[in-house]
Amino acid sequence: MKIKATRKNKSEGFYQGLFFLTASISVLAVGLITVMIFYNAWPAFREIGLWDLLSGNKWTPTASNPLFGLLPMIVGSMVITLLALVIGLPIGIATSIFLAELAKGKFAAVLRRSVEMLAAVPSVVYGFVGLTLVVPFVQRLGGTGLSILSAGIILGVMILPTMISVYEVSLRAVPSEFKEGSLALGASHWQTIGRVLIPASRSGLLTAIALSIGRAVGETMAVILVAGNIPLIPDSILDPARTLTVNIIMEMGYVEPGSLHYSALFATGAILFVFIMFINIGVQLITRKAVKK
């Protein structure tokens, strides 16, 4: 017995160490990424200046007098994300309510599977479908079709799985007493959903929106194929636009390592990084508040 026990302890210690090691890999990775991005972005922050990077509206990195203004890309990211939310949010909310409250039996299962499948489609496939279906459609409304609207439509579909899976769970997490009480007071099913379930799951909805924003802001491959990628502040949703992620991917391939242009691309990444960090912190604050309640 004794021998067996020590053996067990030894192997337990071994496993504990091993798993601790693997667990620290992700912490290490976050640390390394942060250091690497800001280390490489530093020359751009020093030579161009944070304010000029954030407020400059001309991006001409290969001109004889290069300019590195990121404002068109910041606006591009925000506008495309906003449009994706405008398109995806109503569909996401309605689908979540349908799945949590109304759908029954086989159809509900098929629907849930379909939403899950949507998350498994690679983003380059979304981009390709967008290029062959959405862009020609938008072209009929005016312009080349390579536009904010095309990117917004595709991202609006891409954020659905995130939004629906989070919001459906929080709708289901509303205590059944709330619903039963409402029904007992004579409210209809529809009134109960609108007046009790939705207000009670508000923090879940906010989390779903925040996560969707993170997904939309970070998406690159699908956007680069359909957005036109012009570094210019757009006038209409039929205009092309370039997002922060697209700016990095587009020019990183052949840029001369160590140049100011290279550093400015890392600065683009640093700004994106801070942006997404804020969104993540926002999500944590929302969920913590919900738990306290």
């Binding site: 071994f14 496993y15 091993l18 090691l21 693997t22 001309k58 991006w59 001409t60 990195p61 290969t62 001109a63 004889s64 290029l131 862009v135 020609p136 072209q139 312009g143 080349t144 079709g145 390579l146 680069i224 194929l225 036109g228 990628n229 012009i230 570094p231 210019l232 092309p240 370039r242 991917i249 587009m250 020019e251 391939g253 052949y254 840029v255 001369e256 242009h261």
Partner: protein, 289 residues
Amino acid sequence: MKKIKMGKTLMAMVLVLSLSLLFTACGNTDEETGDSDTTEQTKITIVGSTSVGPHMDALTKMYNDSVDGSISFTVEQVGSGQGIQAVSDGSADIGMSSRELKEDEGPMEEFQLCTDGISIIVNSANPVEDITMEQLKAIYMGEITNWSELGGEDAEINLYTRESTSGTRGAFEELVLGKDANDEQIVIDETICAAVQNSNGQLGQGVESDPYAIGYLSMGLVENYSIKTLSIDGVEATTENIENGSYVLSRPFLLLTLTTPEGNVSDFLNWLISNADAREYLEENGFIV
């Protein structure tokens, strides 16, 4: 119980295995770079053009796989000018240039790897067949903005361009836009364009689906899309016209050495110029060999 335990052991084994693989993989690269006690040169440094670089990278790998695995190549993509500089000061064994040498550069040994032609492309429904070099420049400078000025429909011209770091775009700017009054290279103003596309494929597809588009593409890739190529000053973009020098939108891909190459460098250059697989690779990527 036993099953679960076995699962655990298996998982641990997989973890250890993957970790050890990770470390050995890191270790190998260190070893490879630092041994050369033979008299033959085993390290070849290739420096230069960003348009030639990616292909040189692929070709050195092909060479290592099929001919001589003992040579470690370093391919640095820093632009033609710096490549030529690196050859003349001896810091590179081979230089890559995607343009002819200027008079004050050299003298050095030149080997023409291949020729790259650039086609000016429009949508297949566009009635325009030919433009002049001046018109092409004016279009990409934003001075001509309507197809009717070129004998086409009354519609705005949608400019398609590659990203600022693209080698094709660099060559296009050099050959078509030229230099400004201060002898600085003129670059395309992206804000007057309809789309910046970051691959030949995206550009070809964009022009294919937009009736008012104009763009530029490496010549060998044009046939992949249902698009129309414009002739320039009446000269069609064909291999023959590039070879006889009448079609002006072309540039050589040159490899440079300071002195007559010897040993491994010579073997490698000969392989590039004569090997069927290497030739086929270049042809597949749209170059004229």
